[in-house]
Amino acid sequence: MGESIVITSGKGGVGKTTTTANIGAALAMEGKKVVVIDADIGLRNLDLVLGLENRIVYDIVDVVTGVCRIKQALIKDKRFDNLYLLPAAQTKDKNAVNPEQMKDLIMDLKKTHDFVIVDCPAGIEQGFKNAISGADRAIVVTTPEISAVRDADRIIGLLEAAEIHDPLLIVNRLRIDMARRGDMMNVEDIEDILAIDLIGVVPDDEEVVMSTNRGEPAVFKENSLSGMAFRNVSKRLIGESVPFMEFDVQESFFNKLKRALSFGK
């Protein structure tokens, strides 16, 4: 029996879909049999991030309404035989699926896969409720901005109310230079406020933009910092203990001078 994990955040645009694609791909690289589900019905995007948009025939709504069997709707990844995508419907709305149906669907998929990763839509309405039903665990994605952290806090409360305990935290798009200057909240600040366990820190990385443009998750790039961060998350998910990356970015001369002048303030 596999495990289902929902990737959620509350706020939109913090990188849920990118995180889902990368963790899914990284788990597949670890040899796990993985299915990623796009639960953002009406605003489907996981297919694009994975580069599988041209292969969609059936979608999640077709599966739950019995138009097709699960197997027919699952799209096999181009690069990995053990990674599958269940795409969202694009022309329906979030009420086309209900939590009971999601629960049954995920239960079925867990029988044949090691991991079922659900990409949750933004917001806390029906789409969110659908996406978290059937989840064994949750990963909360946030960026170091007050609005994202506030929404993450709200989501943590709602997950708890739905009896999905001990969610894990990913701090995405950390600007190491800014955090070092004290101009952006750092990982400790966010951990301190949200009080949940950290499973990953993903630095802000141009590579993510470029790899998304190409439809290739960043985890495939050997030397990408964000790719490595996501690979580490997947290793931690399967129980390996991987130390958190040390972000040692060269400081500019100006900053060094300023710090020297301010006596290590």
Binding site: R150, I156, H165, G182, M185, D189, I193, A195, L257
Partner: protein
């Protein structure tokens, strides 16, 4: 821009401003309780303990928060009240 001598002014870093603002707003988000209720709680707690102990009003901190230890995830009323001396 002209922050070369930034150490001369004591402006807090923007992340600390963000953190403080967040903490404040989360108190209300988490508790679903109005600032008035928190103020009432605060006043009553202080009145009742002041019968027995002297507290230092400078550093007291009464808030509703969530702690890592509380497995239930329910909000917790935390009061940190520095005491001057115990009367007994």
């Amino acid at each position: 821009m002209f922050d070369l001598f930034g150490f001369l002014n004591s402006k807090p870093t923007s992340k600390n401003v963000a953190k403080d603002r967040l903490k404040l707003v989360l108190v209300h988000d988490r508790s679903n309780c109005s600032p008035e209720l928190l103020e009432l709680l605060r006043r009553d707690i202080l009145t009742s303990i002041s019968e027995h102990v002297d507290y230092d009003p400078k550093d007291l901190d009464i808030k509703i928060t969530r702690t890592k230890d509380s497995a239930s995830g329910k909000p917790v009323l935390v009061a940190s009240i520095p005491l001057k001396n115990l009367k007994r």
